[in-house]
Assembly symmetry: D2
Homo-oligomer: 272 residues x 4
């Protein structure tokens, strides 16, 4: 057992940087991760890769395994989706990320994508975290729906203690009584995490607000508060999205967001 947790600044005072083929998360660069909620078809993901890479996103996202509240909702293309993701990443020179929801999905995804994601609902699926810890894959660990920052950091420790130090945290909003937004984006979490941990932090304003109109403003705030990366939902045709259409940006809105966060990034010493 470690006296100081592996996530802590007491264990490692230097900030962790995660180097991917085309970008580094945790350094001077502000990295943008973008793409649709779910991979729906090759055409849809290729179009998404085109839109997001042209605007400056470095990492393509899209779900192949979708954890849905109802078992009757679209559950994702699974391995077929992973293959499409790999092809899209290669075509547009982007790194790729897909969420995994089980050990089986994890072992499949490792073959196809650069980064795996553990979603909010699985933040305390400790068996899955242990399995991720035994790989050396870069992983984005989303904060649980109502996880405390302390529980979140301890969840990261399940991965780190297995030997995998390539962990990125992702704030995506917490559950509160307020209904004007889908969740309440907790931007205080970024300085709190920075005061406790060396791990890099992504902010996902799309899932947090659930409404297209609020995303750009909160993306600006996320950059200003010190996020290392942003995760933004982009869909070639939001009105036809199989999931999360109301929080997806189209090509024009995403381009505008990228243009408008650039001055903020520069103001806090980040390159976009």
């Amino acid at each position: 057992m470690s006296k100081n947790p592996l996530f802590s600044l007491a264990y490692k005072s230097e900030r962790t940087q995660i180097t991917l083929p085309n970008c580094t998360i945790g350094g001077d660069e502000l990295v943008v991760i973008a793409g649709p909620c779910a991979i729906e078809s090759e055409e849809q993901l290729m179009k998404s890769g085109e839109i997001t890479s042209q605007a400056g996103a470095k990492i393509l996202r899209g779900g192949a395994y979708k954890p849905r509240t109802s078992p009757y909702a679209f559950q994702g293309l699974e391995v077929e989706g992973l293959k499409i993701m790999k092809a899209a990443g290669e075509k547009f020179g982007m790194s790729t990320v897909c969420e995994v929801t089980s050990e089986k999905a994890l072992y499949d995804a490792i073959e196809y994508v650069d980064i795996i994601q553990i979603g909010a609902r699985n933040m305390q699926n400790f068996e899955l975290l242990k399995a991720v810890g035994k790989t050396d894959k870069v992983v984005i660990l989303k904060r649980g729906l109502s996880a405390t920052i302390d529980e979140w950091l301890n969840a990261s420790e399940y991965i780190l203690s297995g030997g995998n130090m390539n962990v990125i945290l992702c704030e995506r909003g917490i559950r509160t009584y307020e209904t004007a937004t889908r969740n309440t984006l907790d931007l205080s979490a970024i300085p709190v995490i920075r005061s406790k941990s060396h791990l890099p932090i992504v902010v996902d304003p799309s899932h947090a607000t659930g409404k297209r109109d609020y995303i750009e403003d909160l993306a600006k705030a996320s950059v200003a508060v010190g996020a290392d990366a942003l995760m933004i939902e982009v869909h070639p045709n939001p009105d036809e999205a199989l999931s999360d259409g109301p929080q997806s940006l189209d090509k024009e809105d995403f381009q505008k967001l990228m243009d408008n966060i650039r001055p903020i990034a520069e103001a806090v010493g980040r390159k976009l």
Copy 2:
């Protein structure tokens, strides 16, 4: 796809009763599930079975796989614990329940215990729910830390839609801002569930309050509000418990609780 969800009264208007060798959950009987948070040793669990069965509990509980916030905390005896549970159940004529935290644990536990439990942290571990749905094992599905009642019922649908109709719901407190108790026991959930679903409901006042002194009063309230069963943490020696000692009752307190809930059970037409 079913128009009316399988959990709903619209699909099945008659209340579901779950019949175990020594008791039935969901009928006239008020069933008490009791035992320690974690199985620590054969001696500890045998003593727990003796105490709880003598006082009238019908189902012995105890964790063999413990989902703990920190990876460095005691994680459970695993299969060794399941074997001890099976032996204790047989010795004291009790049914048995253990939580499972992965598919592997599920397949192990099926061999040894009468009921498997999905804990709050795994309520939306949909892959695990699907795996449970493919068995015919009785399952207690705990409400997530901050799950809505709607999400909880939809999680049960992941099990039901696989063909396993032996689902029992368990209210165990939700996360709120109040810190006087570990969680806030949401007893309104019982009439809400009854108005929507035919599934039986257990209440766990031990995890909800986290404090020994409040458990008996909330057990009384749980019976009065219409719970089909109670889940109570009992330990032969709470001060030496490896986990959750502060919320565990000893032999005398558990006997007193059983004596004091009996008149309430009778007042609402239940046999204890």
Copy 3:
């Protein structure tokens, strides 16, 4: 300054009993407070007094000053309402309670009713609490929408420290993320308060749930958990109520509630 707060068991170990002309709150008696959300007319309140007194309620409630989210909603009959309340109380031999929302309303209400109520939104209106503390009027202090138990007890101290020891606390649900009920009734608060304070406690399941169908079950739970009194919304014609109709019981439902809580009251040693 007092070392031990006046609300604490350390200051006064004997439970406080509040004696009214026709009942005592805090002793063996289970007292029921009932009536409409708002006093709408003499006819409506007289009918309410008839219904509730016949079924065994001892205290008539009804709002003359209504704190409403919107300034354009019905704000109450004010002094005219207080006069109607006084007449109704006398006619049916009931004690009476009205909420006050300002010092002016307080001084008016003192002349007409037996008990004044401080609502959830004014729990930390400290100037109003201080004014109440300078009177000797019995006061029901409702818990704030998201007040901790500690803040609530400290709010009572603002009244007690002025010299008015006639304080009754009222749990009415707290704000959480769950939307199946209007608020989340926190019945754990009753044993928590009992472990800290000598003050009597009322539970209001009507405001907590906001839905008629859940009130009786939660009234039973409230009695079982140890409430000294219940506050129940009753309206002669809920469908025509100017406010809170969906959570109001009619004559038949209220009579049934009274019949069904009686065995629970007896089971916990209370007279109804």
Copy 4:
């Protein structure tokens, strides 16, 4: 009754600007309000005015009436404090703001300060809001501890409907389960409010976080997200503050905050 509420963009599409002698809130200017939690003495407030005005703050804040959880905590200098505030404002050419907690305090404060503030605990003290509505004083209306945005806007309507259109809203954090910060700053509220209302918005990161180390980062985020003004706690000697010392900045930290928010203000087209 108004069909469209007075706070709404449907009623008034042009953004409201509040003009004070030395600054305008709601226009191109980013206005900073700064000063101690409580006015403790003439010396302390004069020093605060010196520090904050030198660094560029335009409005001096400080409490003369302090709503405290316990009646035994320091309650403020009242009228004596208001007089000190007036003198400090004049000396340093700053506008001034003090919280009022009762109608009496309101009528006193109107004589001495430029802006009155309604605190979180009084957001739904409707009688006080109505009294404010009958004046033409500029008022900052803080969001309630767990008020929805809808309730907050409706509270503003109590003031607006009395004829006083000089209302500024202030986000100061909401109550959630997270304990790493005192409250959870809800920066999503700023774009939500902007999409519904023409009223200007202040953000108070000091009360929201409760911890000095997080304030600058959240001030940056507040500016980036579109706040019209910031409210920052500054004390000449935080370690000796009678209240809220842990969240107060000293001279150096405040100067650094002002320097570091300037580039963000420029990036979003604001002058500081």
